[in-house]
């Protein structure tokens, strides 16, 4: 088991390194100037480039960057636009995105499970069809379209929720974005739950349990749901990262100070803010890799076959 975990951690670290490298190189070779040069003379731009070490070979720059990363700061730790330190701003934005992300995940998973279970229990009947339609709609409608729809009806037509995100009124402002974001989670989770449950329900041991006289909710809870949940966790894990790292369009529309909006602004601002884009890219990747790593390890614990396969491989 230790060997399995060590191997996974090493792989994760290597992946993160590779991602950092690719991100770094891509951003450096991108066309465009990192500074809002309108009010800067050629001399000032040159000076700024020298200051930031942009004149050095790209691999040297990368090595410098890794050194700074190791010391805990991103880039030289400041935005290229306004010289403000990145870390506190990024943390604040992560916090906002996290809060909304957590609400939408909890809500999405719970509702998704509920719909999935109802559909599975009534498979082939009207309710099953209805739940399927709901989950397909959820996948098809982009969350931001749903967000605009909600904003129009529940902030504009019926002014119940604030029209823009308001941090001092968090819960009420979080409802619409969280609901829109959870749409995808609801449909994905419900679809998987239904399919997994239907499969488990057709298995021999469930049939045996039924033959023993178990039925209804008891059968579902004891035998079906527990076995169906494992694959569902696999679907939820990447969703968690997606939702935690913010939704760029929704944050932009609703004015949420989250990491998604921060990323968009860093890319499409007056110039590409190298330091921000890299820092955010690395944080997003690290989160994703960490969750996947956790999942891999959990699998190993839950299901010894995976561990064994790794050993043989």
């Amino acid at each position: 088991m230790t060997k399995y975990v060590a191997k996974r951690i090493l792989m994760a670290a290597l992946t993160l390194f590779a991602i950092t490298f690719v991100l770094f190189v891509l951003i450096r070779i991108m066309p465009g100037n990192p500074f809002p040069v309108e009010r800067m003379s050629a001399e000032m731009i040159l000076q700024k480039r020298l200051e930031l070490g942009l004149d050095k070979p790209i691999l040297v720059q990368f090595a410098d960057y890794l050194k700074m990363l190791a010391s805990g700061s991103f880039g030289n730790g400041t935005s290229l636009y306004n010289g403000a330190p990145i870390k506190p701003i990024m943390l604040k934005c992560l916090e906002n995105s996290f809060k909304i992300g957590v609400i939408s995940i909890l809500f999405g998973t719970v509702v998704g499970l509920f719909i999935g279970i109802v559909a599975a229990m009534h498979r082939g009947k009207f309710l099953d069809g209805f739940c399927t339609v709901v989950s397909i709609l959820g996948v098809c409608i982009p969350s931001y379209v749903f967000m605009i729809f909600l904003q129009y009806f529940f902030s504009y037509k019926i002014p119940f929720f604030p029209y823009f995100f308001d941090a001092s009124n968090f819960l009420s402002s979080a409802v619409m974005p969280a609901l829109s974001l959870s749409l995808f989670a609801i449909s994905t989770v419900s679809r998987f739950t239904r399919n997994e449950m239907v499969e488990v329900m057709n298995s021999d041991y469930v049939k045996l349990a039924e033959a023993k006289g178990l039925y209804g909710w008891q059968l579902m809870r004891r035998h079906v749901l527990r076995n169906a949940l494992i694959p569902i966790v696999t679907v939820i894990a990447p969703l968690v990262v997606d939702l935690l790292t913010g939704a760029m369009v929704i944050e932009k529309i609703y004015g949420i100070n989250g990491v998604g909006k921060l990323m968009v602004d860093a890319i499409a601002g007056q110039g590409v803010d190298y330091n921000y884009v890299l820092a955010l890219g690395i944080v997003f990747s690290a989160l994703y890799i960490a969750i996947m790593l956790l999942l891999d390890i959990l699998y190993g614990i839950i299901d010894p076959r995976i561990r064994l396969a790794a050993k043989e491989g």
């Binding site: 066309p31 636009y81 306004n82 719970v110 129009y152 409802v175």
Partner: protein, 549 residues
Amino acid sequence: MRKILMFTLLILAAMVTACGGGEEKDSNTLKVMLGSNAVSLDAAQATDSVSFELMADCIDGLTQMDSNGKAIPAIAESYDISEDGKTYTFHLRDAKWANGDEVTAEDFVFAWRRHCLESTKYAYIMGATVACVKNADAVTKKEAAPETLGISAPDSKTLVVELDAPVSFFPSLMCFPAFYPINEKFYNSLEKGTYGTSPETFLSNGAFTLTEYLPGTSNIRLQKNNSYWNAQNISLENLQYQVVSSSDNALTAFKNGTLNLVAINGNQVENVKNDADLSKNLKIIPTGLLQYLSFNQDAKNHHGGALANVNLRLAISNAIDRESLVNNYVTNGAQATYTAIPINFAPNAETGRFFAEDQKQFSDVVSFDVEKARRFFDAAKAELGKDIFDLDIIYANDSGDTVIKVAQAIKSQVEENLPGVILNLQPMPKAEYLDRVTTNSYDIAITNWAPDYDDPMTFLTLWTTEGSEISEHWSNLDYDRIITECTTGDLAANYNERWSAMYDAEEILLRNAVIAPLYTNASAVLISENVKGVDFHSVAIERVFKNVK
């Protein structure tokens, strides 16, 4: 199952109960839309009007603008000018920073020196082309000690500024954020690079203090500063800013009362005019922003430098129907412009007439006249020995669709009126656009410039040999000479002669068609009827909220 159901219901219930009420109705709060993020609250970092507006809300400089844009006293209660116009002595009033410290003359000395020492984006404004503060350029280039900069504080309430040449608009220049004071003690107590990045790291001495702000975030909140020297005349208690990137979203937010002041785009103006309720709220605000075509005149540029030929430039400039551009494509109240200085800007101190009020004075070289354009074009074809001109026209497409429509209109007008000219439209993100301009890989750029201070020189210095290193690549010694005379030379002291010399400079510029002016932009805003006293300006600080009643 029951547990899951209960949990779901619980979450829903919590959400719904948390939402009751929603909007607080505070009659003394003004909610204003911002079109983009504020880059920074540090005058050394910001170059955008949004940041300037926020700084002006929170900090008073030596002077401030009245509702007509004239400089009136702020921190300086009064000032004396020496006979030669080169020494200003400002007498500061008793004013306090929000932390209780006195605002002193040293605060100004510190802030001004900092611009030169750190050679910030606005170090140039201290120097010979603008404010002419003694030794500013030398200190910026590290050729002189910071103590030699022409600003000193004989005592804490007296500030003496020495200039290399008289600057007629110096008092109005003092409204600009680059000249604002910084509390040195406070600044030095902060971690490097954090000044102005949060309410805790920013200190105001002005009408409002910051209560909620992070660089790049969408909501900014300010509240009345009770220790402001003029606090008894400030009636607005809260000022809230909301960054809204889509004007459709802004319009809806205005309609349902979420925002009291929003900017709308040209497409929406027509709809709003037809709406009986909304049209009452519509206001067209003239700005000082000049939209123009910048011709790359470097003979070595990537298309063989055809635009180094003056007749080709004149042909293009005269083939554009500017009236049609503003009436059919921009539609936000912008005015067609035939001068290098935009229209609603730089009034003469004596007559009060705007510098560019007479739009016809250069009509023989800048107009819409197809026949004339073709004559210029024939001359260009003869001189260059070719009939087909393939030119790239570049523009940034990430700041709304107006420029996209304008580019398309220019292409169709020029190609129709000058058969043989082909304009290749090249929209691109702003970062790439700026890169193309600085690396000299374009033929024509659609660009704009907004004035930093209330004098034609804020535009004219763009096209000196030194200034045009970045764009146009045009150099004219006569032009350079006039600009030098007007800024640091003999004409600096003579208001009227300087004024007419600036027309001479503008004439050289337009006869050579260095640029093709297109229009002076306007901004269409919707403002709630009960909001009175918002001052709009075409220079430096676009909106001032101090006088809101």
